[in-house]
Amino acid sequence: MTANPTESVLTDPTTNGQDGPLLEVEDLFVEFRTRDGVAKVLNGVSYHVDAGETLAVLGESGSGKSVTAQTIMGILDTPPAYVTGGSIRFRGQELLSQSAEKRRQLRGDGIAMIFQDALSALNPVFTVGFQIEEQLRIRKGMSRKEARKRAIELLDLVRIPNAKGRVRQYPHEFSGGMRQRAMIAMSLALDPQLLIADEPTTALDVTVQAQIMDLLAEIKAERQMGLILITHDLGVVAETADRIAVMYAGRIVEHGDAHSVYKAPGHPYTTGLLNSLPRLDLKGQTLETIKGLPPSLLNIPSGCPFHPRCPKAQSICSAEVPVNHDLGNGRYSKCHFAEEVVRNG
């Protein structure tokens, strides 16, 4: 069970797809088979991340952001979740056809993940040090002493003061921000090439949020890691993301570089998200919201799934599923009127 120190599925030079993107998700379908019926959670999700790049995945709760991440990690609970189609390639290698054991070895080592609520995501009965060291001991075959030394270095790296003393403490003895830092340290233990951060700052104070985002950005740049940032916080996205993928009802409805998506969104849903952000310069006005609720995934509306909530909906929207409209510069929008939306807002 204990892996030898050289164990790595990534060091094989023949499989190093250096030319392509670090991670490529293509046409991914996932459904949840529940008692109430089949919920189509992912309906053809495609995105990619390059090394050293941050992709922000935006969307409301239930849009499939986290499920996509969990599918990439291979930590979906089956049942009820089943991958029914698509492909995930990491450094050119197809993951979905790999054995469970191979995928396990990739976790932490190739792709690591940090979670939203560090208090519940860390095991309450083990010290922070233990939880970092256990990967090093089991996956890298380090001795307890070596692993402890490395754990302290990692805590130093994420700027936890007094790392030497902190390594012996339990998660509940850390503050919220420190806990999230510890989790980041834990995810970096095996030097992953891709880090998936699932709403890493949602449970934190605004000031701490900024610190954590800065830390992530810095570490990403230093290590030339790919970073997938899952969030519903548009403020976080604006500052850190290179590219944005907007998800709705289990598909990417808009994709593009962060700057131009912010400046001129190409999908009414993105427009709605941006408008529902409070703005200081428009003080006193009523905050715009997207009317209605996200669709039930057991019964996704026909045509464009956003049409019941869309202010621009026409008859075509309920009849035809919109395809990707190429807006140039790598921008895509799944809206029948994408060009018009970009032009006129």
Partner: protein, 307 residues
């Protein structure tokens, strides 16, 4: 932590005095004549007078109790009406009862926890139903039914065990009675473990452990089990204390001369010294195991700190 332990130990004193006094009074208040049956027909008045004087029976109940307590604190458990040392009686009975209770808890832990882990991990299915139904059956049966069934099947039927144990029973002889004694709580342990595992299986920290790429065996064996065992271990510890004195029926079925039988006989023959002595011992054992469990709890779950 140290101050907490001292405070808990000091709490033992009032509880100790309270329980022993209550038991002493209760035995004293039982109707009937303690000397009936000691003589062939009716006891001669001289004998009665001698006995009453010897045991201070005409004194006030408080005087009697405090005289008893005073002796007790000097390590003297007193003598029975037939002049046998109560201390000796307890010394004879306690080890076998402790052994029996320990075996019972061992069975509870072994079978209960294994069944609980298996069903908790697998979720609904045939195995789950099997364990659920069989534990329900075990719980529904009174101990004497389970006892007689075990005696019948293993003893008379298969001849694996003797129907009753010898006067100084070995570990092997106590296995069958221990199983019977543990059968009630075994079902409870299985269900407690199952619930606890099923609850923690979907916990965020288990998902984190999986996401770290740890082998399945380690995720379950270290991260899941450690958290799920906290309530189970707490229960098992308390059960050890209550099973020590609560084995009257099991002891009766298998002819074990344990603490339970000692109390029962003591009550029948109105031997206040015996009943109080044994109950006091049980109370102390119960309180101390409870304290140990509370301390163990803090070790198992670092979020708990005693001030």
């Amino acid at each position: 932590m140290g101050r907490y332990v001292i405070r808990r130990l000091l709490q033992l004193i009032p509880v100790f005095i309270g329980t022993t006094f209550l038991v002493y009074v209760l035995v004293w208040a039982l109707p009937g004549d303690p000397f009936a049956g000691m003589c062939k027909s009716v006891c001669p008045p001289e004998f009665r007078q001698a006995m009453i004087e010897k045991y201070n029976l005409d004194e006030n109940i408080f005087v009697q109790y405090f005289a008893y307590l005073g002796n007790l604190l000097q390590g003297d458990f007193g003598v029975t009406y037939s002049d046998r040392e109560v201390g000796m009686l307890i010394e004879d009975a306690a080890p076998v009862s402790l052994q029996l209770a320990a075996i019972a808890v061992g069975f509870e832990a072994l079978i209960g926890i294994s069944a609980g882990i298996l069903t908790g991990l697998r979720g609904r299915g045939f195995l789950d139903n099997l364990v659920l139904v069989s534990t329900l059956v075990l719980t529904a049966f009174p101990v004497f039914v389970t006892g007689f069934i075990v005696q019948l099947v293993l003893g008379s039927g298969l001849g694996i065990i003797d129907l009753t144990v010898s006067s100084d029973p070995s570990f092997g002889e106590l296995l069958a009675p221990g199983f019977v004694l543990g059968s009630l709580s075994m079902a409870y342990v299985a269900r407690l473990t199952r619930t606890s595992i099923a609850e923690n299986r979907r916990a965020d920290f288990v998902r984190t452990a999986v996401a770290k790429g740890l082998p399945h065996r380690r995720v379950v064996g270290v991260h899941l089990l450690r958290n799920s065992m906290i309530p189970v271990i707490t229960f098992l510890g308390t059960d050890l204390g209550s099973l020590m004195g609560g084995a009257i029926v099991t002891e009766g079925i298998f002819g074990i001369n344990g603490v339970g039988g000692l109390v029962f006989d003591g009550i029948l023959s109105k031997e206040g010294t015996v009943v109080t002595g044994v109950v006091m011992l049980l109370v102390i054992i119960f309180l101390v195991t409870n304290l140990l469990i509370d301390l163990l709890y803090a070790v198992l779950d670092p979020r708990i700190r005693y001030e």
